[in-house]
Symmetry: C2
């Protein structure tokens, strides 16, 4: 990891890239976060010092900030086929999901108290759904199959007349499985159940069309697609009943001054990600296939976690018999390769990966600039380390 | 207002300052927001592209981010005489205040249900306290005197055995009055009532010592003291019972990935503001006195809103008989002077400024670099505009 300290961020940014490509560090944990793109940072810069107005001010500095937010909403709305007024900025996808679930549950509590969600939701959704039980709501958890997929039939059968909210993630951040959101959305619409999807790990990597998917609310953020951290969005379809979680006199869905620079950066990252999506998706899928094939052909007793084809193009998750995920991740890092093991292993447990045979997993998540050479090096090092561990 | 658009934020920042000092625009609404200091932005830069790790990752990139957060906590804790582990980062002081009030109320609901707060709290505190009433809590509002001060005797007499939380702001953002927080804190301590103060408008401008003030929780943020927007903090005294508002499996008081760059910027802004505080406070107070004297000596039928001496050194708030606040603010802007009128006029109403004689007010809030020349120009223009309005 780069230890050089310089006063200029720009020159440091220039140093960073050669380090990875020179083979010193190969970063393969882009699902945890991505660096801010240079173009995105450039777009943000004027909003720190020059255009520093508070959007709630009525004067020109305030109007300028408000305009920047409106432009950002427009750009982001376009990427998901929504209207600008359907975009609400938050401090990140955690807040987006809390707002979606708590906000809808509280707004609809007169019409029912049943919430339906999957077993492999990311913690903000999972824990918020659970917390609603202490406030008089009931929760039903949808199980998943060995590939991590929710059953459409199960969704239909678990909806009751009391069901007010259904929350199923678009994709899983650990195992990469992409749900049949369009089909689930159709059922939710038929049954008049408000439908939320957490698209944190999908946004900017695969196409998301909120109309086509029939989703009413969608959480996503900037830092998973080369935008800044600390800024997220919640898509809220026009007319969906929802209450703010931060009470305020103006009944705004989200009061408080967020970073205008970050909002502008989010929009810039969103635009670029969607412009490059086709190309990146194709490249990543090819790299992914190559990597999976190499591991499966060269290492015995491995298990690819998640669906083989319905998965995020940058996600690979393997369990290796005889070596724990955390051991292998640690050894990879000692060899200059950054990966991750499951922090919250609910997804792995839900698809049956636990017990003696496979303990934990290693997640490899590519970035837009990950090269074939890097993927090869990592796959070879994994083979080497697994072999050694099994011999020792 | 600057309309030039350049690709480089740095060069734009260089353009911005001359504009104000050349007399084109005089910005006197620094209570709404402040620009990010150049040194602060420099400190932030490496965390956008190079040091982009997620603090919850276990690898070196994650550890680096976590370390940066810990260092920032240490720096910020020092400025208020707290311990680093007593600092919780949030998306801004709005979230800090919601977390403080809702979090404490929910954690202490077994021991009582009474909340005590002042009539002139900033909206996040005011609205959150009010919202708790729908959840079984009772709320008593403390009135203020003509200067905007809460009565210590009133605080003492309104505390009941059911009182679990007292929330009184450190200073008022509109009228600048600074409360007797130390005395109020002493009563809260005596009566074992958890005490929260919203120091959004005070932090970085006047000294705040949480131990000396006997406060248990304190909300503040970065963008009111030359740091970035979208990042705030809540001081939570060790041992104070409080529940998170974003549920999470690890029972963190604040889960979710905030901007590390912003956290680092917050700490840098905090350090510089406190290093320069003595000097800035003295300069601002002198400028403030000069400005107030000029207005009171040269314009008849004016009223200074807020306390004459117990007030923020950069805040001046006047009502002018015969001209509404919003009219004057608009005319000042047409003359290149940015000020503000009350958006939420609760503070003015609470001190009795309403009705026929005085309608609204104009708030002038200086920045650290506001000059005597600027203050003079503004005061003269105010005199000129008020005279003309009264004649017309």
């Amino acid at each position: 990891m780069a230890k050089k300290v310089s006063k200029s961020g720009k020159s440091l940014a220039k140093i960073a890239k050669p380090m990875a490509s020179e083979g010193k560090i190969i970063f393969m944990d882009y699902a945890s976060s991505t660096p801010v793109r240079e173009e995105v940072l450039e777009a943000m810069q004027p909003y720190f010092r020059l255009k520093f107005g508070n959007p709630s001010s009525l004067h020109s500095y305030g109007r300028e900030a408000k305009l920047a937010i409106e432009e950002a909403k427009e750009k982001i709305a376009k990427t998901i086929n929504a209207s600008p007024e359907e975009i609400v900025f938050t401090s990140g996808s955690t807040e987006s999901s809390v707002l979606a679930i708590r906000g809808v549950a509280k707004a609809k509590m007169q019409s029912g108290n049943h919430i339906l969600s999957s077993a492999i939701e990311h913690d903000p959704v999972f824990s918020t759904c659970k917390s609603m039980v202490t406030e008089g709501f009931t929760l039903t958890t949808l199980l998943v199959d060995v590939d991590g997929l929710v059953s459409i039939a199960d969704v239909r059968s678990k909806i009751t007349p009391k069901t007010i909210l259904l929350s199923v993630q678009h994709s899983n951040g650990e195992i990469g499985t992409i749900q049949h959101i369009e089909d689930i959305g159709r059922i939710a619409k038929e049954k008049s159940v408000t439908f939320h999807t957490d698209a944190t790990f999908s946004y900017g990597w695969v196409p998301l069309d909120v109309r086509k998917m029939n989703v009413d609310l969608m959480s996503f953020d900037a830092h998973h697609c080369y935008g800044p951290k600390g800024i997220g969005a919640l898509y809220v379809k026009s007319g969906i009943p929802i209450k703010p979680i931060f009470p305020n006199k103006d009944n705004l869905l989200r009061p408080g001054t967020l970073s205008i620079a970050s909002i502008v950066g989010f929009a810039a990252a969103a635009e670029i990600a969607h412009k490059e999506m086709g190309k990146n998706q194709k490249n990543l899928a090819r790299l992914q296939r190559m990597f999976i094939d190499y591991i499966e052909e060269n290492i015995k007793f491995v298990k690819l976690n998640g669906h083989l084809t319905r998965r995020l193009p940058n996600n690979i998750n393997f369990s290796f018999s005889g070596i724990t995920g955390s051991e292998l991740v640690k050894q990879l890092e000692e060899n200059g390769i950054i990966t991750s093991t499951c922090v919250d292993c609910r997804a792995l447990e839900a698809i049956g990966v636990k017990g003696e045979k496979f303990t934990g997993s290693v997640r490899f998540t590519f970035g837009k600039d990950t090269t074939q050479d890097e993927a090869k090096k990592v796959a070879m090092k994994v083979m080497d380390l697994v072999e050694r561990a099994r011999k020792g």
